[in-house]
Symmetry: C2
Subunit: 410 residues, 2 copies
DNA sequence: AGGGGTTAGGAAAGGGGGTTTACAAAGTCC
DNA sequence: GGACTTTGTAAACCCCCTTTCCTAACCCCT
């Protein structure tokens, strides 16, 4: 249990100020102070730091009520680039962002079922990272860092993928291997936490002390934002909500247990819900999760009774599971994220809200918002890039206090 | 989302030092520095503060390896008194502690089923508090504070019991009402968090950053110690684990939901497990939870097959539920607390460990210890008193720096 | 008995951090 | 052009922790 130091306070405040600037660009120091609750002096110092780092720039002035005009600052989009890497079971996706977190370039690499050796995956990642840097035409020096998300349990400090169930990896020194191909600072974590941090910085969890980001994809999990920070647990594997028991002695899960949430609301689980209801439905595309979920979404839009029923059943399971999260964590907001949530959208959300209302305790439920993720792009890449951003912001504390040298503002 | 300030660091360190002193009295500054990871200078300042407050005293010297002997400090048991109040459905229990957290006096007041009005409860509390102060013969001035635990949802800042399901209280200004009868500083919270804080200070969660305290009584809940602090949630109702769904469409719970954990592993749930297995068992004492649980415990000790089976069944439910906690929180330790856990003891623990092993993910499970609470007395009273202790320690930050006046050591 | 070695603990200096206060800068209004 | 307003920086201050220096207190050895 490491001690909290005053430096942590500084880092947290730096995060908060930059978050706020990214969220609302351009903005004034006054507004930042009001939004963050910090004093004007502190905001001014932090803004000065960020200006020195060229992460933001002064962009003009705003009339004040009869006095000196407010100076405005905005993200300096071209002040650097961040790269997010989403390693999944069947593909590697890499996105390059500017500092406004806009996607400048993207590269996808498909991985064949056989390609599961770490060396092969590392090769794909290196190729894709090289590709986005070339595409975006940024000089390498401007890349502030590369965040890598890999499913499973990782040690973010040593950069080791301790356990990745997809490929049966054990203690793969992924970051060291990548470092041989990639010269930028590297950061490792898993998709659950990537999505959580993306919501915390840019999504529905912004400014919320306690939030749970529910990830609905092929697998299912929850990213926990508690007390303003990511909760990681003692071995960095907190948030394994997908293997929570929802139905005692229920469906068999690949984890060996029965009745896991994932077997009912993960994409394969939803397919099973559909198959059990209507084995011959045309909505069902065996062997293709994405197609099936998309077909369901279209079906719901067209008021197809089978699709409606499947979504309702799924929402019922999901609602019971989310109600548990509401009761346990009493968060301000629960965010539904990842591709299944994005595909099924509002209809799912509505049903889920009703189901949660039935299962959760009244008062905690009343305190909790349930929303869809407002993030339009791949949240895993964005979150991974955010790890790189956080890394860049933390490391500046380490070096000397960056004495501001005569910064002219004309 | 309030900001963290440098004062919070000080308070946390103060807690840690005093915790350590209470745990191991007498002790030296050197040992404290090693145990807390703080510098010697900081430890010395904090120890000085506590000496000034008369919470600890210098008690002698210890030989060092050939140099100046180490000064030893110990809790000054008679330096003050703390009172913990445990308000439950059918009784009010009040205990008075010295600063070593030893029980000096105890008072129990039974409440008849009809007596549910706040005024009546307040009357009982006031009477019992008066009683323990008289019994212990301490001067009133030495009482540092009174911690009150009431089941349900409370607002600890305003001292309002927002919702107490036992008596259908809504927004009762409990602390204001008590303040008319009790002149000491008052602190309000609920039994879940009281047990958690008791474990954090004096029990199995000491020194652990992440711990879950599972409360097994008539009701069931979990106190969450995350990142070294209590997690309260946005409306101070985090930890309502008892109403987590364990069996979809299972037993009806008084909360209106089906299949809640509480209906299987709360005392009434265990009685139902017994009744379903063997309706005419002599172990069953209808209308008397305590007697039934005690009978079960004796039955297990005597290898009664029915008792063994009931405990095994209960442990199976409990294990599935606790496995969810292991997966979600990835804590260092899970503590089983409250009277049902104490009564069923080791046999329950053994079965629970096996059941959790079957349900939880392998790696998080390997990182988590599961233990019985080592606290021998009523953990709720102890925890409530601890709230008063924490209050006394926090408030000293507010006043002036207590300039140390010539403290002679002869 | 008196010095040298060793360890404990206090006092002062130093480096972070945040806030308050004072003041210069840059406008508006009369 | 002067008075008023508002912004933003600089300086002073308080809090916190650590490092460094020095004295206190004890041991051992001569």
């Amino acid at each position: 249990m490491r001690h909290r130091t005053s430096r942590d306070i500084r880092t947290a405040n730096r995060y908060e100020v930059l978050r706020q600037i990214i969220a609302q660009s351009p903005t004034s120091r006054q507004e930042l102070a009001a939004a963050t609750g910090l004093s004007l002096a502190t905001v001014a110092t932090l803004v000065g730091e960020l200006l020195d780092l060229r992460m933001i720039t002064e962009v003009g002035f705003e009339d004040s009520a009869g006095g000196r005009p407010r100076g405005l600052v905005a993200v300096n989009a071209s002040g650097g680039a961040l790269i997010g890497v989403d390693i999944a079971e069947t593909y590697v996706r890499v996105e390059l962002f500017d500092l406004g977190l806009n996607v400048l370039a993207r590269a996808d690499e498909d991985m064949r079922p056989g390609e599961s050796r770490p060396e092969q995956v590392v090769g794909h990642v290196a190729a894709a990272v090289g590709s986005v840097v070339t595409q975006a035409g940024v000089e390498g020096a401007r890349v502030l860092g590369v965040g890598v998300s890999v499913p499973g349990q990782v040690d973010r400090d040593t950069g080791v993928a301790e356990y990745a169930p997809n490929w049966d990896w054990h203690d793969v020194p992924l970051l060291d291997m990548l470092a041989e191909h990639i010269a930028y600072p590297l950061y490792l974590d898993n998709p659950l936490r990537a999505c959580a941090v993306a919501e915390q910085w840019f999504g529905a969890a912004r400014g919320r002390g306690d939030a749970v980001v529910v990830n609905l994809g092929t697998g299912v999990g929850a990213g926990l934002v508690l007390g303003g920070g990511l909760h990681r647990g003692v071995s960095n594997s907190a948030g394994e909500w997908g293997h929570t028991t929802l139905v005692l002695d229920g469906r068999l899960c690949h984890c060996g247990n029965h009745g896991c949430v994932e077997t009912y609301v993960g994409a394969p689980g939803i397919m099973l819900n559909l198959r059990e209801l209507s084995p011959k439905s045309t909505l069902l595309h065996p062997e293709d999760q994405t197609a099936t979920i998309d077909a369901l979404a279209r079906g719901v839009a067209e008021r197809d009774p089978v699709a409606l029923k499947v979504v309702r059943d799924t929402a019922r399971y999901l609602g019971a599971g989310i109600a548990d999260l509401v009761n346990l964590f009493n968060p301000q907001v629960i965010v539904l994220s990842s591709w299944v949530a994005a595909a099924l959208g509002e209809p799912l959300l509505t049903e889920v809200r009703e189901a949660v209302a039935r299962h959760a305790l009244r008062r905690p439920f009343a305190a909790t918002e349930i929303v869809l993720s407002p993030i339009p792009t791949d949240p895993v890449c964005l979150g991974a890039a955010t790890f790189a951003l956080e890394g860049a912001l933390s490391s500046i504390g380490g070096q000397r206090p960056t004495r501001r040298t005569a910064r002219s503002r004309d």
